[in-house]
Symmetry: C2
DNA sequence: TTTAAAATGTATATTTTTTAACATTCTTAA
DNA sequence: TTAAGAATGTTAAAAAATATACATTTTAAA
């Protein structure tokens, strides 16, 4: 499943100096999960931080009818739940394992002790938290202000930046729609229009971006209210 | 103007021990702005942190047509722009002064020096950043998942928690609509329905919540997908 | 190679939301 | 007390998005 937050934010562990990362691993418990297994539930209040070691963690909110909204895929090195340590808030997401997954789990008390001795930890946490709210703010703004076509262009552009190949994105249209919070039909209409503008090409399970610069220009001209000037 | 983020998040300066707050004030430049004056523009890239001393700062995004979306009012003690210090991101918002306003401005270099010597700073920054993204995530989820009526109920409930008087909110419907990202007409329709359910009472420039517990119950039953269990 | 499943493409009816326009109510300052 | 402005209330038409349904294309497995 796709994700805006994950795709743009750096992994927590990657921001740590190797020796600090080692201490984090040392002080935490490695827990293994099988595909689909629950790692945490929305509403849990036991504070602690979780870091993906291998596999992936799918964060979302499961509705009463079983539907899931706003899915986020967290990969190796990425953390979640850290806000429970610094605030008194309950967990916002249901998180399940995607495939065989290993998670470093650390309780709040252990983490706090490490945190007090390793100033590098706070930098890494701050950077991820600040980038996350930055991205969320931009996304919120896009949802409120931009029509679906523009929103789609924007997410494609940001994904092409971070994905392996800037010219091709492998993803289902239904997943993209999910992430943008719109119906597949609406998304398809938007994508069609972008394809007519020659900004993208639609394929089976993939979207090609033959000239990323063209897309970037278009996004800059159509999606930025007071364009992010230099 | 109303704001979800501001209403729920603690002020940065309030999270600092008095002696650290004093050092922050000491190391920054106090700048005065008159009503409506620009404090920063979207796209600015000079890194630094700003803290409101008196008055208020209005953060929003000004569209090409002059319209403003997602307005946020920051009051005394609240900070903005700190993410520019820890990431390489340009500023996301246009910020203007509301009335006579004083802002503590600190450059990135100065702040970083202080940051390295005062571990308490990182805790305060982390807490505000984490709370912010928590609130943003919940808001994003609400926008995607909930109809307007439910969204309105949710914001009213959260505001009644934090406002001075839990039984009365003084706000224009147009402001509320703005914050929720819907038209005034749609919001009015939603509020009417909540009023019919006897959850709220509508007045001129105010919304009364005669029995907050009733509203909370309703929100818990209608707005929480997998209810935030205990 | 055939078949089933997955994914995309498309049309239409329905619902939701917005825009625009205007009436009404409330507040405040002359 | 009255007039002007501010805010809310209401309606109808237009636009946007969704749901439903089904056709087509692509992939991969039997």
């Amino acid at each position: 499943m796709l994700d805006l937050v994950q795709l743009n934010a750096p992994a927590f562990m990657d921001l740590l100096p190797p020796e600090v990362a080692k201490k984090v691993r040392r002080d935490s418990t490695l827990v293994k999960y099988t595909d689909g297994q629950f790692i945490q539930s929305r509403g849990d209040s036991k504070p602690g931080i979780s870091i993906v070691r291998s596999g992936a963690a799918n964060a979302g909110i499961i509705g009463m009818d079983g539907s899931v909204s706003m899915t986020t895929l967290l990969g190796p090195g990425q953390s979640f739940g850290e806000f429970t340590i610094f605030t008194e808030l309950p967990r916002t997401h249901d998180v399940t394992a995607v495939g065989e997954t290993e998670i470093y789990q650390m309780t709040a008390t252990r983490f706090t002790r490490l945190y007090d001795n390793e100033p590098q930890l706070s930098r890494a946490l701050l950077k991820t938290a600040l980038m996350r709210s930055h991205i969320l703010l931009e996304m919120l703004d896009a949802i409120r202000r931009l029509p679906i076509r523009e929103r789609a262009a924007r997410i494609l552009q940001s994904m092409s930046h971070t994905a392996g190949n800037p010219n091709k994105l492998e993803c289902r249209q239904s997943e993209l729609a999910y992430t943008l919070g719109v119906s597949r039909i609406s998304l398809n209409r938007g994508l069609k229009q972008l394809a007519e503008l020659k900004l993208i090409e639609l394929g089976y399970g993939e979207i090609r971006i033959p000239r990323p610069a063209l897309l970037s220009d278009w996004v800059a001209n159509h999606c930025n209210p007071a364009p992010l000037a230099s």
